[in-house]
Amino acid sequence: MKIQLREICHARSGDKGDTANIGLIAFKEEYYPLIEKHVTAERVQGHFAGIAFGGVERYELPNLWALNFLLHRALGGGGTKSLKNDAQGKTLAAALLRMEIEINEEKVR
């Protein structure tokens, strides 16, 4: 079954220089293993091809049912250098919530 991340997660993004971070948080504890398994750094890097040019790192925070992604070289230089409308990556969290994952697990919710 295919689900979009927005069905099981909320998220917030921001900037540190030319790196954007996205915190992806499962709505329920039982959804955390799903995102931990399916939303890998590689998947996210592929999702943001053409946006993040410096690789993606992932950190796990199971205590908050959350993953933290760092998208390097994703903000057009960052700060006041960036020519992007979203120079601080504020809407990249929503862009991640567009991602679909294929799950075999029992129907969520």
């Binding site: 971070n21 709505f27 925070l61 933290n68 230089g77 969290a93 929503a94």
Partner: protein
């Protein structure tokens, strides 16, 4: 109105309110925080890297400027209440001129008829004038991300500030300060300091320092922890028009309850707090501040009531030997132009206009480090992830350029308006006139040994 300065026995809890999350934040928030319920402290964060360079520019023009002037206007409104209710204020609004800020505060309280007010000033973070002296002592301030030497940008340096932590503020509170004004202090230090002061936490009690630091991280963006910019079920957040900013209720054992005043809008839930915890962090196991290294993977949260989230279990590690230094330098110019195209074929028209613009730029021989085109209403947020849309009602063409060549950037600004009468039809939205070049301020993060920097704390009294 004389003010009590004698500290009482240890309190069993203190309430620290977030008043401002950035320079330009909701102006009514700090007023609500001091009037709508009990608090002991209010922290107000005013600084970002770009703010520091703007303030340096102001200070160069007038040595009495270089701090957040809004702070003074705000204090004129709330000081009598703060004095009456014994609320202490901690802020980094001193910018690059904390002394001038302190003097302006004393002036304001004088004209309000307040006597006995003590302002603590934290100095020593501004090392712009010490950069060459430090280099002479072998402290090179290389870019900590790229390893580049400072020489390459030395002549274009605009500001250089060390991030101080909570302890200079603690010293000011111990000196009896009712208001503490700092320059570049970490946002988290503003919240942690009163906990250390009130509960006598030791400088090596890493777990408690980490707990207070995490509380500071939750408070430092104001309403973003209490329902603002919430990406979950955002429709469920009540009355954002009257959002209550977050409050950290701290206990001597390091437990913290995040809450807000009753009868305010917004919400404090596990979800709103978690979103803020994840905001702008790197490796969650190593959240580095001058005071400690906090481990965000140890944070435990529990909703204990309406708009009350208890936080416990936070672990910390020893602070590092270094302070972070944030420097800024001039790095060329940018300019942006926008034009709005309407249905029918709005996107196609905007794309054609962009093509014409680029041809004319090429004919003129103008070269830029970067030229970027986005279509607002279509792809400026999610870029290539934006699904194709049939026949948009309207779209905004937005073109930006960046270069060290001022003349080229200025010339670009003259190429937008002609598109209205010489490009595709049904175009509008050029009332603002020609876009002007603006300076690019770039950042240069570095590390400095703590031993190379001296903090100074002054107490001034009116």
């Amino acid at each position: 109105m004389p003010i009590e300065t004698v500290s009482k026995n240890m309190k069993d809890r203190i309430r620290i309110a977030s008043g401002q999350g950035f320079w330009g934040d909701l102006l009514t928030a700090p007023i609500d925080q001091v009037t709508k319920g009990p608090i002991d402290y209010m922290m107000m964060d005013y600084l970002a890297e770009v703010t520091m360079s703007i303030m340096q520019k102001q200070k160069r023009k007038d040595p009495k400027l270089g701090y957040a002037k809004d702070l003074i206007q705000l204090l004129e409104q709330i000081l009598p209440i703060c004095v009456d209710r014994n609320i202490k204020i901690i802020t980094n609004g001193g910018g690059v001129n904390p002394m001038a800020c302190s003097e302006a505060i004393l002036e304001a309280s004088k004209s309000l008829g307040i006597r006995g007010l003590k302002v603590g000033v934290v100095l020593g973070d501004d090392i712009l004038d010490r950069v060459d002296e430090l280099a002479g002592r072998g402290i090179e301030l290389k870019n900590m991300e790229t390893g580049e030497r400072l020489d390459s940008i030395r002549s274009r340096l605009q500001s250089a500030n060390v991030y101080f932590g909570a302890f200079p503020i603690v010293e000011a509170l111990r000196g009896g300060a009712h208001i503490v004004v700092t320059g570049r202090t970490t946002d988290t230090g503003l919240t942690l300091a009163p906990m250390i002061y009130e509960f006598n936490w030791s400088a090596t009690d890493w777990d408690k320092l980490a707990a207070g630091t995490v509380a500071g991280h939750i408070l430092e963006c104001g309403g973003q922890a209490s329902g603002g910019n919430f990406s979950g079920d955002w429709r469920s957040i009540p009355d954002l028009a009257h959002i209550g900013f977050p409050i950290a209720e701290a206990y001597p054992n390091g437990e913290i309850v995040i809450t807000k005043h009753e009868n305010t809008g917004g919400a404090v839930t596990l979800q709103t707090v978690k979103e803020q915890l994840l905001y702008e962090i790197g490796n969650p196991k190593e959240y580095i501040t001058p005071d400690c290294v906090a481990d965000f993977t140890t944070i435990r949260l529990e909703q204990t009531g309406k708009d009350r989230v208890r936080m416990y279990g936070v672990k910390g590690k020893p602070a590092t030997e270094y302070y972070k230094v944030s420097m800024s330098y001039l790095d060329g110019y940018t300019s942006f132009g926008t034009l709005t195209y309407s249905w029918p074929d709005a996107l196609e028209k905007a794309q054609k206009a962009d093509e014409i613009l680029r041809t004319r730029i090429r004919d003129l021989g103008l070269e830029f480090d970067e030229m970027r085109t986005e279509f607002l209403g279509y792809n400026s947020c999610h870029g290539p992830l934006s699904p194709k849309v049939e026949n948009l009602n309207e779209v905004v063409l937005r073109v930006g350029v960046r270069s060290h060549d001022y003349a080229a950037v200025e010339r670009f600004g003259k190429e937008l308006a002609p598109l209205i009468l010489t490009g595709p039809p049904s175009v509008t939205g050029f009332a603002g006139g020609r876009p002007k070049p603006s300076e690019v301020i770039s950042y240069w993060p570095a590390l400095i040994p703590k031993s190379a920097v001296t903090t100074q704390v002054l107490i001034q009294e009116v």
